[in-house]
Amino acid sequence: MFSPARAWREYPQRYRLEAAKCTECSKILYPPRLVCPACGGRTFTPEILPREGKVVTFTVIRVPPAGFTEQTPLPLALVELANGVRLMVQIGDVENPETLEIGMPVRLEFRRISWDGEAGVIFYGHKAVRAGS
């Protein structure tokens, strides 16, 4: 769904990687929630995610969904950040998918994720790129 309102309200998480830290058990939630799934706590302090992490698992999408047909093949990974938070992201700057591997160190970088035609909303967020590249 290419919704401008949705893109706007998700800026804090997409652009600034804002998460929430449970004041009871210190679990970090990304995206933030109203209740901590680990302890039931309902009070949180803001927390910015670290940008360094490693690949937990990955794939290369060869048959894309609507909206991503211009970005195929599309490498995607589940990344675990230095503080244990996991998130799904595209992997950027991949010249040869054969070089991707589980455990690969990555860094999150602010990138364009998708776009709604020539006149619609451009969606930005973070992609993972190989650390040190």
Binding site: R6, F58, R62, P65, A66, G67, L78, M88, I102
Partner: protein, 386 residues
Amino acid sequence: MRDVAVIGIGMTSFGELWETPLRSLWAEAALAALDNAGIDSVDLVTIGCMSSGLFTGQEHLASLLADELGMAGVPATRVESACASGGLAVRAGFAEVASGLCDTVLVTGVEKMTDVDGADATYALGTAADAEWEGFHGVTFPGLYAMLARIHMQKYGTTREQLARVAVKNHANGLLNPHAQYHLKVTVQDVVNSTLVADPLCLLDCSPVTDGAAALVLTTAERAREIAGDKPVVVITGSGMATDTVTLANRADLAELGAVKLAGERAYAMARRKPEDIHLVEVHDCFTIAEIMATEALGFFNPGFGGSAVEKGLTSLQGKIPVNTSGGLKSKGHPVGATGVAQVVEIVSQLRGEAGQRQVQGAKIGMAQNMGGSGGSSVVHILEVV
């Protein structure tokens, strides 16, 4: 709780049925089940359908379809749990009869998937993932299962060939099922050489896009015995449902399908059965890796041994525990909302001894396992001849 029996089964052939609209597919299956049961009125209709809105532009399905059958006035409920919608419709009907709210329920599942093109179908299916935190980045269902496959391969040494053997087995079974979408023998080489969809999964690791519908008639076991005379009665002895995190990012163990395990444990507990008691099982093989992981989660094999079990033939038609005698989602086809109901249709056919060339001799206890998304939900039923 009252005992609940299945007294009628029906399904359409599965396939790319371009000439048939959703409502006609559904009515064909519903009428077949009612005729099979020998009745013409019910207290309730339940409908499992994942996304008639995205696939056909039609919502408000329960009323539309009850009316299609000339049953306007009868209560009707649509339930949705992504690809487990059909299983959930079975459970909804089971609960109504078991509780005494209804005596007779028409349980149905339907999906019309070929009115949209491939990219839009991929998008519609992708909405079963977390749209904001997974879908936003372009992930697809093959992509999510590919990520699970890679974890399973790394942790347990599951091989590319073992994945392929699931497809080879299920296509062999599908050859014996007249309702199956594909009557196509495939080899390990065919699977591993087919087009890459999401590494390491190839086209022949994936269930297809399918149109189809399936239906059951449920009533009390007491009434079923009156109707059946001296014929066997098939009773639902166990029903289990469980959820898990929809996002893989929040999953406790990516090498295990937690919702399948929990739903299975709940069904086993209700039926007072254990894995060794089950004679055959239909599992949700939306991708080859899913069948391997489901057979482990249901306790048929220890974690990590699902792949070698397929390789050894333990899950073949003549194996220790035949898995997906119908051809599974892989060969029979996967009209997502219909799948969970069609699995029960297969189990009832087998328990009645009506499965023809793919009949498992002496089958008395069967299981059907349906799954939503990348394991975010699962519904398991155990059925027995009494």
